[in-house]
Amino acid sequence: MNIKWFKYAAPSTFYPLAGRMIPWFWVSAILFIGVGLYWGFFHTPGILTDQKEYYRIIFPHVASAWMSMWLYIVLVGWALVGLIFQTRISFMMAEAVAPTGAIMTFIALVTGAFWGKTSWGTWWDWDPRMTSELILLFVYIGYMALQSAIDDRRRADRASAVLALVGAVTVPIIFWSVNCPDPNQCTALHQQSGMGKVDPDIVIAMLVTSLGFWLYSFAIIFQRVRNIILQRERNTRWVMELPEVKRGK
């Protein structure tokens, strides 16, 4: 067990560390999203197989869809770490991840609807992946609802962590059941993600934009976790000694 890790796990050390990292995350997020979209608009062909110019919705769509799922894994990871090591910071991280995860899910759904309208002629279809994404949104909302319904912080942290773990076991089963409602013949309607067939420039733009969304998530989650730390540690000495608290009375 490395002691240094636990040192950074203390809110009083993590708070300034996160503060120093946030500007870098913002700069690189803007840089990556900017470059990704620039590449996506000016270095790619106007058509993706049978899809016309509107296919460029793919950049925010795929980036947010990936992030929505990745952030749920991150959420479960922090919940697990929190339950095992009883570290306050991991519960705070889990709490901070959830809203961004829900927002990413929302973006994926809305951009998907615009794409669906142009591509399939309908805003919504009960296609397995769209349904899964909608259910993921419900799961995020359930997590946040439980988190905010409990006044006692300790109980809220641990109860929502248990819910996240239960979700981690059931969400794959839910996705699978939605994907395959008839166990005798499984088919997926959503276009298969065949990276190989896609123009390499589109893939590059997609990956770079996704990386940008990932950095954006880092930045905003760190900012939120800093708020949560201040809120929860308001009765401690080190918070009262912070320059941003002492300054400007």
Binding site: L146, V162, V166, D182, P183
Partner: protein
């Protein structure tokens, strides 16, 4: 060890028998919801037949969920729950006993009333039988998953509506394959084995994990 289980089961059943209206409330909720659908969507035979699997299963989901709030609430209010957690018995086993009692009182009646729904929706004898079988395997899963939600929201204001937010998404696999099997049998397809295997797999999975997670949640909630 099993004596703890049977004692708990008997106790809950006896307590429930003293207040029979609680059981009937869930049952009548189910009957009313199922009876309201034809009034809303029209009484055409073909439409009703098509809707029957989904309606039955969604009504079952809602009914079993509404009953959940009471699962631990009374014991929590009079302090029995804390005593229960202090006994040397494994908590998961006591939870399993409570969930079993709960299912016998709220889930089993739904299975037994299913033929009435079959008549209302003109689905025929064979399909009704399949409906009853899926409910028999599926409703225990609902009670087991729901118990986790009930334990997590124990004693919170607005707990009932909160449970629905947490638990309804988790009910989806049971809904998909439960109603899927009924629809399949209605379409005349004989390939129901896969549906029942999946539902049974969910039941086994829920039996193994849910009492354990519920016990953990109860400890967190009562601390």
């Amino acid at each position: 060890m099993w004596r703890g289980f049977t004692t708990m089961l008997k106790r809950d059943l006896v307590l429930a028998m003293r207040r029979r209206t609680d059981i009937l409330t869930t049952l009548f909720f189910f009957i009313i919801v199922v009876s309201l659908f034809p009034l809303g969507v029209g009484t055409e035979k073909e439409i009703l037949r098509k809707m029957a699997p989904g309606v039955v299963w969604i009504a079952a989901l809602l009914a079993s969920m509404l009953a959940l709030e009471r699962l631990f609430a009374d014991d929590h209010a009079d302090g029995t729950l804390e005593q229960m957690l202090l006994t040397p018995q494994p908590v998961a086993l006591l939870v399993l006993a409570k969930v079993t009692a709960h299912w016998l009182l709220t889930g089993l009646p739904l299975v037994l009333i299913a033929p009435l729904v079959g008549l209302q929706y003109h689905v025929g004898g064979d399909v009704t039988l399949v409906m009853m079988q899926t409910l028999l395997i599926g409703t225990p899963v609902l009670s087991l998953i729901g118990a986790i939600g009930a334990a997590l929201t124990l004693g919170l204001r607005g707990g009932g509506i909160l449970i629905s937010l947490l638990i309804l998404p988790l009910y989806i696999p049971v809904l998909v394959y439960g109603s899927g099997a009924v629809a399949e049998s209605m379409a005349g397809g004989g390939e129901l084995g896969a549906y029942f295997q999946l539902l049974s797999a969910f039941l086994i999975l829920a039996l193994v994990f849910s009492p354990w997670a519920t016990a953990a949640a109860l400890k967190i909630s009562t601390e």
